[in-house]
C-alpha cells in the first residue's frame, strides 16, 4: 500500500480533531480556534495534494488503492469501514480542502464582529471533517455516517444566528427536508447490504461496485420487473436529491441562505450540495449497471430527467428574486441540476468537471456577494444596492469573473467549458432530445439573471449618491459602501484566478480531466475542438443574447429603492408573480404534505389526550386504591401486631428489672437459695 493511502484517514481526522479541541476552548479564545481550524485545513490540503499527485501516476486504468478496518463484529459477520484513493477522491480532496481553506480565511474577516466566532470555526472544522469523510469513504456506511455529520454541521451553521426566527426555521427545514432523501439512501444501503453482503465499494473484487456484485444485482428482479440494481440506485439517488437540492426537495437550499455568507459559500454552494453529485459519481458503476450496455440504465435516466428539470426550474425562479444570496442559491440549485444532467448523459467526468469548476466560481460569487453585503452594512436586497463597482473595485472585478464563468462566456472562463460539455453530451443522448433543449434554455436564463443581478448591484448609482430630495424621505442616513478588508478580498482573487484557468483542464482539445479520471494519458487534439465548434457557437450566441437582453432591460434603471418595480413585472405581472413566489412550491407543500402532517399531528394529539391519557388516569386510580388498601394492612395489621408485642415485652422487662437493684448481697442470697434448691432437686431426682 502506498504510504499516502495508509494515512489517508488523517485528512478528515485532522479537522475533526481541530473541531474537538476548539469545542473545549472558551468563548474568548478566538485566535486559537481560528488557528486550529485553518492549521488543520492547511495540513489536510497538503496531504490532499500528495494524494492527488499519487493518483496521477497509473500505468493501466485508473489508480485505485484502498485501506480498510473492521468496525463492528457481530457473530460471524464483520462490518468494515474503508477509504479509497482514486482520481475521483483525489480531485475532490484537493477541491474541498482548497476552497474550504480560502473560505476559512475569508471567514476571519466576515465573522470578525461576531461574538460566537470560536463556535463558528469549530462548526466549520466539523463540517470540513465530515465532507472529507464522504470524499474518502470506500464504504457506503462510512459515507452515510459522514453524510449525516455534514447534515448536522449544515444545520448548526444555517441556524448559526439562531436568535433570528427565520434562521432557526431555515435550519430545521434544511435538516428535515434532507432527512426525507436520506431515508431513501438508508433503505438503499440496507438493500445493498442484504443483496451483496458488503458495503465496501471496492474490495479487490468483493466490493459492491465491482463486477461480481453488479452482475448479481442486475440479474435479480424485484417489483414491477425492475432490476434490483435500478431500485437500489434510485433509492440512493433519493439521498442525492435531498442533499443536492434537486426538484422536488430543493426547497431547503434557498432558505439555507439565512446562514452567514461564508457558510453559504462553503456548504451551500461549493462542497456540501456537491456531495449528492459526488455520491452519484461514486456509485456510478451501480447506477449505470444494466443488461443492455448500449442504452442508458433506468437509474441514470431518472438522474438525467431530474437534473434537467431542476436546471430550468430553478433558473426560472432565480430571474424573479431580489435577494442577492437567494439568486445565487437558486442558481446553485440550477447548476446542480446541470451536474446531475451531466452525470446522466455523459458519465462521471462530465458531471464532475462541472462540479469542480462550479465549486470555484460559485464560492467566488458567494464570497463576492458576502463582500458586497458586508460593504453595504448587511443589505441583501439588490434593489437597494447599486453603483458598487466604484466603491468596491476588487469585489466587482472578481465578481464579474465569477459571473461570466457561471454564465458560460466563451473561451476564457471555466464554466463555459464544463457547461458546454454537458450540453454536448445531452445533444448526443440517444433517448431524448428534450434534456438538450432544457439545458439550452437553462443556459439562457442563467446568463439573464446573472446579468440582471450584476447590473442591479454594481452598475447605476448607489442610494447615497442619489439627489438629495430623495434622501430626505429616508428615515436614516445611507452609509457609503466600502471595500472589504484584504483578508476577504485575497481569497476572492485566488478563486477568480482558478475560475478562469480551471476550464483549460477539460477542453475538448485537451480533455485532461476525463483522461485523469479514467486513467489514460491525455492527448492534445485540436481537431476535436473543430468538431464541437458548431455547438459552442450556438451556446455562445445564446449566452450573449441573454446578457445583451438583460443589460438592455436593467442598465437603464436609475433609482435605487425597494419600491422599484422590475421591468419584467411591468411586462408580465402574472408570470412574475408565479416566479417571484417560486412556483408556489412552498405553498403547495404547505397545503399538502405539511397540512397532512399537521392533521395527523392534531389527530395524534387528540388520541393522546382522549384515549391514552384516559387509560393512564384509570391505571393511576387503580394504583391509588391499591396503595390505600396496602397502607391499611400495613398500619393496622403489621404495625398494630408489632406494637402490641413490643408493649408486652416492655412490661415484662420492667417487672424483671426490679430484681436488678444493685444490692450485691441480695444477688448472692438469690444465688445461694437457688443453689440449695438446685441441690435438692438433683438429690430428689437421683432417687
Amino acid at each position: 500500500m502506498t504510504p499516502i493511502v495508509k494515512f489517508l484517514w488523517l485528512i478528515p481526522a485532522l479537522p475533526l480533531l481541530a473541531a474537538g479541541i476548539s469545542s473545549l476552548l472558551s468563548k474568548k479564545q478566538r485566535i486559537p480556534a481560528a488557528a486550529l481550524a485553518i492549521g488543520s485545513m492547511v495540513i489536510s490540503f497538503f496531504l490532499s495534494c500528495a494524494a492527488f499527485l499519487t493518483t496521477l501516476h497509473s500505468e493501466h486504468g485508473p489508480f485505485r488503492e484502498i485501506g480498510k478496518v473492521d468496525w463492528l463484529t457481530f457473530g460471524s459477520t464483520t462490518l468494515q469501514l474503508g477509504w479509497v484513493l482514486d482520481p475521483l477522491t483525489g480531485i475532490m480532496l484537493v477541491m474541498v480542502t482548497f476552497v474550504g481553506l480560502l473560505i476559512f480565511i475569508y471567514s476571519i474577516g466576515y465573522m470578525a464582529h461576531d461574538e460566537n466566532f470560536k463556535q463558528f470555526f469549530c462548526f466549520l472544522a466539523l463540517f470540513a471533517a465530515a465532507m472529507l469523510g464522504i470524499v474518502i469513504a470506500d464504504s457506503l456506511l462510512l459515507l452515510f455516517v459522514s453524510w449525516e455529520l455534514v447534515g448536522l454541521a449544515s444545520y448548526l451553521l444555517i441556524g448559526f444566528w439562531y436568535h433570528r426566527p427565520s434562521a432557526a426555521a431555515a435550519a430545521k427545514k434544511a435538516f428535515i427536508t434532507t432527512r426525507i432523501g436520506d431515508i431513501g439512501l438508508m433503505l438503499g444501503m440496507f438493500w445493498l447490504y442484504s443483496s451483496t453482503g458488503t458495503l465496501l465499494f471496492y474490495d479487490n473484487g468483493n466490493g459492491c461496485l465491482e463486477q461480481a456484485a453488479l452482475a448479481k444485482l442486475v440479474g435479480e428482479l424485484t417489483v414491477g420487473g425492475m432490476a434490483v440494481s435500478t431500485a437500489i440506485s434510485i433509492l440512493i439517488f433519493c439521498g442525492a436529491v435531498g442533499k443536492s437540492g434537486q426538484v422536488p426537495l430543493h426547497v431547503w437550499l434557498p432558505d439555507a441562505m439565512e446562514g452567514p455568507t461564508p457558510v453559504s459559500a462553503l456548504i451551500h454552494a461549493a462542497t456540501m450540495v456537491a456531495a449528492g453529485v459526488f455520491l452519484v459519481a461514486r456509485v456510478y458503476p451501480l447506477m449505470s449497471a444494466s443488461l443492455t450496455p448500449d442504452i442508458t440504465s433506468t437509474a441514470l435516466q431518472v438522474v438525467t430527467w431530474v437534473g434537467a428539470i431542476t436546471a430550468v426550474f430553478a433558473a426560472c425562479i432565480a430571474v424573479a428574486q431580489n435577494d442577492i444570496k437567494r439568486i445565487l442559491a437558486y442558481s446553485t440549485v440550477s447548476q446542480l441540476g446541470y451536474m446531475m444532467l451531466g452525470l446522466g448523459v455523459g458519465g462521471v467526468a462530465v458531471g464532475m468537471f462541472h462540479l469542480i469548476t462550479h465549486a470555484f466560481f460559485k464560492a467566488l460569487l458567494f464570497m463576492g456577494a458576502g463582500s458586497a453585503i458586508h460593504g453595504c452594512s448587511d443589505e441583501q436586497d439588490i434593489r437597494k444596492m447599486g453603483g458598487l463597482r466604484r466603491f468596491m473595485p476588487v469585489t466587482f472585478a472578481t465578481y464579474a469573473i465569477g459571473m461570466m464563468a457561471l454564465c458560460g462566456v466563451p473561451l476564457f472562463f471555466s464554466g463555459f467549458w464544463s457547461k458546454d460539455e454537458i450540453i454536448a453530451s445531452a445533444q448526443h443522448w440517444k433517448i431524448s432530445q428534450i434534456p438538450f433543449y432544457l439545458a439550452l434554455i437553462g443556459a439562457f436564463l442563467t446568463a439573464f439573471y446573472m446579468t440582471r443581478q450584476i447590473s442591479y448591484v454594481f452598475f447605476g448609482k448607489h442610494a447615497s449618491e442619489q439627489p438629495s430630495g430623495k434622501k430626505q424621505d429616508r428615515k436614516q442616513e445611507v452609509h457609503k459602501p466600502h471595500e472589504s478588508p484584504s483578508v476577504m478580498t485575497m481569497p476572492l482573487v485566488v478563486l477568480a484566478v482558478f475560475a478562469v484557468i480551471l476550464g483549460f483542464i477539460g477542453t475538448p482539445a485537451w480533455p485532461w480531466f476525463h483522461a485523469y479520471l479514467s486513467g489514460h494519458p491525455a492527448v492534445v487534439d485540436f481537431s476535436k475542438l473543430a468538431e464541437s465548434i458548431g455547438l459552442m457557437t450556438v451556446s455562445a450566441v445564446i449566452v450573449f443574447a441573454a446578457i445583451g437582453l438583460s443589460l438592455a432591460v436593467y442598465l437603464k434603471i436609475a433609482t435605487r429603492s425597494d419600491r422599484q418595480v422590475d421591468p419584467l413585472q411591468k411586462a408580465q405581472p402574472a408570470v412574475w408573480t408565479v416566479l417571484a413566489n417560486k412556483f408556489f412550491i412552498d405553498e403547495l407543500y404547505e397545503a399538502t404534505v405539511i397540512r397532512l402532517h399537521r392533521a395527523f399531528a392534531t389527530f395524534s394529539d387528540w388520541l393522546d389526550q382522549a384515549v391514552w391519557s384516559g387509560i393512564v388516569a384509570m391505571i393511576s386510580h387503580i394504583i391509588v386504591a391499591l396503595s390505600w388498601f396496602s397502607r391499611k394492612v400495613d398500619e393496622d395489621l403489621v404495625n398494630g401486631g408489632f406494637d402490641h408485642g413490643c408493649d408486652g415485652l416492655r412490661e415484662g422487662s420492667r417487672e424483671l428489672s426490679r430484681f436488678e437493684n444493685g444490692q450485691i448481697q441480695r444477688y448472692l442470697r438469690t444465688i445461694g437459695v437457688a443453689f440449695v434448691a438446685l441441690v435438692l432437686i438433683l438429690m430428689w431426682g437421683c432417687k
Binding site: G662, Q663, I664, Q665, L668
Partner: protein, 104 residues
C-alpha cells in the same frame, strides 16, 4: 487414714456455709471479702480431701490445683481490697448496700 472422709466433708461444708453467711449478711465490704475467702478455702479443702481419698493419691493433682487456687485467691484479694479502697475514697463509706449503682 485416721478419720473417715465424711468428717472432712462436713468440716469443709461448715466452713463454706460460715463463709457464705458472712458474705451475705455482713455490711462491711471487707468482711464480705473475708467471707468470700472462707468459701474459697472450703473449696480448696475439698480439692485436698477428694485427692487424698480419691483413685490416685500418689499423683499430686490435688495439691497442684490447690496451690494454683491459693495464688489466684491472693491476686483476687489484692484486687478486691484495691477496689474496696477505691470505692471508699469515692463514696466515703464501707456499707455494701450503698454500692447499688455503677454510675459515679
Amino acid at each position: 487414714m485416721s478419720a473417715p472422709l465424711l468428717h472432712y466433708v462436713i468440716f469443709s461444708t461448715l466452713l463454706f456455709c460460715i463463709g457464705f453467711a458472712g458474705a451475705v449478711t455482713r455490711r462491711n465490704a471487707i468482711l464480705v471479702l473475708i467471707g468470700i475467702e472462707l468459701m474459697l478455702n472450703a473449696a480448696n479443702l475439698n480439692f485436698i480431701i477428694f485427692w487424698r481419698y480419691g483413685v490416685a493419691p500418689e499423683v499430686l493433682t490435688g495439691v497442684v490445683a490447690t496451690i494454683f487456687s491459693i495464688a489466684i485467691a491472693a491476686a483476687e484479694a489484692a484486687v478486691g481490697l484495691a477496689l474496696v479502697i477505691a470505692i471508699y475514697k469515692h463514696r466515703k463509706t464501707m456499707q455494701v448496700e450503698k454500692f447499688d449503682t455503677l454510675k459515679g
